[in-house]
C-alpha cells in the first residue's frame, strides 16, 4: 500500500514538474494499472420484481465445514463412488430425529472452464442430495450451493490436489 502510494507520488511529482498538474488519468504504457482501492459500503441490494426467492435457509457468515468428511468424485464425474456412501449415511443419521437443515456445497478441480464447472459442481451436490433422499432425508431440508472451481480445498496443481478438490462439503444449519 505504502510503496504504491510512494510510486504514485513520484509519478505525480514528475508530471507536475513537466507542467502537467492534475493529469491523473494518463498512464504511460509501461505503467502498471490497478483498479481503485476498495472503499465504502456496498450499495443496498434491491429486490427483483416478482421473483420468488424460494425456500432457502438464512445463512449469516461462513458455513462451517468439518463436521462431516467431504465426499470425493472422479474426474468430470457426478457419480457417487461406492467408497463414499458410508459418509453420506453418516450425514443422513445426523439429520434423523431433528428438523435441522443441510447445505451441500459442490466443488470441482481447476481443469474445467469456469461456468461449466459451476454446473458440474451443482450436479455433484445434487447427486449427494439424491443419495440422502434415498436414505430417507426429506428433499425439502436440503439446499445446494455450487462453487465450481472456486474455493479449492487444496491450492496445489497436481492430481493429489485435484482429487481433494472434486468434492461435496456438508454443513448442518440448526433450526
Amino acid at each position: 500500500m505504502r510503496s504504491r502510494f510512494l510510486s504514485h507520488a513520484v509519478v505525480v511529482t514528475l508530471i507536475a514538474t513537466l507542467g502537467l498538474t492534475g493529469c491523473k488519468n494518463f498512464h504511460w504504457p509501461w505503467q502498471k494499472k490497478t483498479p481503485a482501492p476498495a472503499a465504502q459500503q456496498p450499495p443496498p441490494l434491491g429486490e427483483g420484481a416478482g421473483i420468488p426467492s424460494g425456500e432457502r435457509p438464512i445463512i449469516t457468515g461462513e458455513l462451517t465445514h468439518g463436521q462431516f468428511p467431504p465426499v470425493y468424485f472422479d474426474f468430470d464425474s457426478v457419480k457417487i463412488r461406492p467408497s463414499e456412501v458410508a459418509k453420506l449415511e453418516a450425514v443422513a443419521a445426523a439429520l434423523k430425529g431433528n428438523s435441522n437443515k443441510l447445505v451441500i456445497e459442490g466443488y470441482c478441480d481447476e481443469r474445467g472452464t469456469a461456468e461449466y464447472n459451476r454446473a458440474l459442481g451443482e450436479r455433484r451436490a445434487e447427486a449427494a442430495r439424491e443419495k440422502l433422499v434415498a436414505l430417507g432425508v426429506a428433499a425439502s431440508r436440503i439446499t445446494t450451493i455450487s462453487y465450481g472451481r472456486d474455493r479449492p480445498a487444496d491450492l496445489g496443481h497436481d492430481e493429489t490436489a485435484w482429487a481433494k478438490n472434486r468434492r461435496c462439503e456438508f454443513s448442518i444449519v440448526k433450526e
Binding site: 513537466l18 507542467g19 502537467l20 498538474t21 492534475g22 493529469c23 491523473k24 488519468n25 494518463f26 498512464h27 504511460w28 504504457p29 505503467q31 502498471k32 494499472k33 490497478t34 483498479p35 481503485a36 476498495a38 472503499a39 465504502q40 459500503q41 456496498p42 450499495p43 443496498p44 441490494l45 434491491g46 429486490e47 427483483g48 420484481a49 416478482g50 421473483i51 420468488p52 426467492s53 424460494g54 425456500e55 432457502r56 445463512i59 458455513l63 468430470d76 481443469r111 474445467g112 472452464t113 469456469a114 461456468e115 461449466y116 459451476r118 454446473a119 458440474l120 451443482e122 450436479r123 445434487e126 439446499t143 445446494t144 450451493i145 455450487s146 462453487y147 472456486d150 474455493r151 496443481h157
Partner: protein, 406 residues
C-alpha cells in the same frame, strides 16, 4: 491437423495464431490493414506527447489500420493542441495521400484529466471516416478481478486503462454480462451465500436481485433487444436453461435433460440460443430456439467445448457473426471458432497457456479472453482476422471472465 498444431506450437505465439487466421474461417473479408501515419500534435509538447502516444495505441489496436511512416502511408494524421480558459482544444485532421483530400478535420474540447477519452473519440472518428464502421476505442470491458479468495467485478477501457471496481463485496462475483445499452451488468454473486443473479448499474452502482431460486442461478446473458435474459437455474432438479423477462417474471424453461445445461449465448437475431450441455457425456455446444423445442447439436469435436460466445457485428459489416468457444485439447484450454459450414471448431488461440472466456467486441472482429500461465490469469485482445494477440495492461491480482461491452 495435429501435426500442424504441434509444429506450430514451437513457433512464436503471434506467428502461430496468424498462421491459423490466414487459412481459416473468415473467408472473403478484407483483413488487410491500411497504412496510417500518426504525425502527432503541435502545441504544449507534454500534452501533445501523451495524445500522440494514446492515438498510436488506438490506431494499432483498431485492427483496420497499421502504423506507418508518412512517406508510405495511405492516410496522414496531423493535429494541434492549445490551452483555453476552459481546458484544452484538440484539433485533428486526416488527409488521404493519393487524393490530397481531407477526410477528417475536427476540433475536440477536452481537459488534462480526460486526454485518453478524447483520443478514443478521435480514433473512432478516424476509423469511421476510413472504413465507414464504428470503432472500438470508446468501448469498455468488464471482468472478474481476483485477489486470493475474493472475486470482485471491475470495468475498464477497452485498452486496459482506467480500471475501476464495480463491486466491493469481498465475496465471489463472476460471469459479468452487459445490457445492450451498456448501462447495466448482470452477474453471478455469492454475496448472500447462494449463487444469485444480480444486476448492477455501472454509473449509480445501484443493485437489484434478478434471480435467487433454490440451487444454482448463474450464466445470465441479456437478449440483443435487452428485454429478456437467458440463464441457468437448477430449481427443478438439475441445471437447465431458462429465459425470463429482464424486468422479472415470465420464466420459461427451455431444456429438459438429466445432464447440465449452461452458458447460454443469444444469436444476433435474438431468435435462438447456443449453450453447453453434457447430457450425452462430455460438454458440447447445442442450439435451441428461444421458445424451447428440440435442440440441435453443433459441435462434435474436440471432446470438450464450452463457453460459447456469439458475435453481434453491425448489420452493414462485411464480417459475419461468429461463435467463439473454449475447447480443451491435450489438457489445455484454447479459443476456437465454430465453423457452421464444416461443423468443425477452428483453433484461434492455441499455445502452451490456458486460453479461456472469449467475449466479442461489438465490431465482431476483436475478442477479449483470459490467458493463464503459472496460475496467473491476464486479459488479452485477439484480432481474429489477423490472429494478432495483445496483452492488456496487467492488474494486481488476476483478471478473468472478461465481457466486452456494447
Amino acid at each position: 491437423m495435429h501435426a500442424v498444431r504441434n509444429s506450430v506450437l514451437v513457433i512464436a505465439l503471434v506467428l502461430c495464431s496468424a498462421a491459423y487466421a490466414q487459412s481459416q474461417v473468415v473467408v472473403g473479408v478484407h483483413a488487410q490493414k491500411r497504412p496510417f501515419a500518426v504525425t502527432g500534435f503541435t502545441g504544449d509538447p507534454t500534452v501533445a506527447g501523451q495524445l500522440t502516444e494514446v492515438l498510436k495505441n488506438d490506431v494499432w489496436l483498431s485492427g483496420c489500420l497499421a502504423l506507418a511512416q508518412s512517406s508510405e502511408a495511405e492516410f496522414v494524421q496531423q493535429g494541434n493542441v492549445r490551452s483555453d480558459t476552459g481546458g484544452l482544444t484538440i484539433e485533428c485532421s486526416v488527409t488521404q495521400t493519393a487524393t490530397k483530400k481531407t477526410i477528417l478535420s475536427r476540433s475536440y474540447p477536452g481537459s488534462a484529466q480526460d486526454l485518453r477519452r478524447v483520443v478514443h473519440v478521435i480514433s473512432d472518428d478516424i476509423v469511421k471516416a476510413i472504413t465507414g464502421q464504428r470503432g472500438i476505442a470508446q468501448t469498455k470491458i468488464a471482468f472478474v478481478w481476483s485477489r486470493g479468495k475474493v472475486k470482485e467485478l471491475a470495468v475498464m477501457d477497452y485498452d486496459g486503462y482506467n480500471a475501476r471496481q464495480l463491486t466491493y463485496d469481498k465475496s465471489i462475483s463472476v460471469h459479468p454480462r452487459w445490457s445492450p445499452n451498456g448501462r447495466k451488468i448482470i452477474y453471478t454473486s455469492f454475496l448472500q451465500t447462494f449463487p444469485d443473479i444480480l444486476e448492477a448499474d455501472i454509473y449509480t452502482h445501484q443493485r437489484r436481485r434478478v434471480a435467487s431460486f433454490p440451487g444454482l442461478n448463474s450464466g445470465a446473458e441479456f437478449s440483443p433487444d435487452g428485454l429478456s435474459i437467458a440463464l441457468t437455474l437448477s430449481k427443478d432438479g438439475n441445471p437447465e436453461l431458462y429465459t425470463m423477462n429482464a424486468n422479472g417474471g415470465g420464466l420459461q424453461r427451455l431444456t429438459h435433460t438429466p445432464g447440465a445445461e449452461s452458458s447460454p449465448t443469444w444469436s444476433p437475431d435474438g431468435q435462438s440460443i447456443a449453450y453447453v450441455s453434457d447430457d450425452r457425456g462430455s460438454p458440447q455446444i447445442y442450439l435451441i430456439s428461444k421458445d424451447g423445442g428440440e435442440p440441435t447439436r453443433l459441435t462434435v469435436s474436440p471432446a470438450y467445448n464450452t463457453e460459447p460466445n456469439w458475435s453481434h457485428p453491425p448489420p452493414d459489416s462485411e464480417i459475419k457473426p461468429m461463435l467463439a468457444l473454449t475447447s480443451r485439447v491435450g489438457g489445455r484450454f484454447q479459443i476456437g471458432i465454430y465453423d457452421t459450414a464444416t461443423r468443425e471448431v477452428v483453433p484461434k488461440v492455441a499455445d502452451d497457456a490456458d486460453n479461456e472466456d472469449p467475449s466479442w467486441a461489438p465490431d465482431g472482429r476483436h475478442l477479449v479472453f483470459a490467458k493463464t500461465r503459472q496460475w496467473r490469469s491476464r486479459l488479452y485482445m485477439l484480432d481474429v482476422l489477423t490472429g494478432e494477440q495483445v496483452e492488456l495492461p496487467a492488474i494486481e491480482g488476476g483478471a478473468s471472465e472478461p465481457a466486452w461491452g456494447p
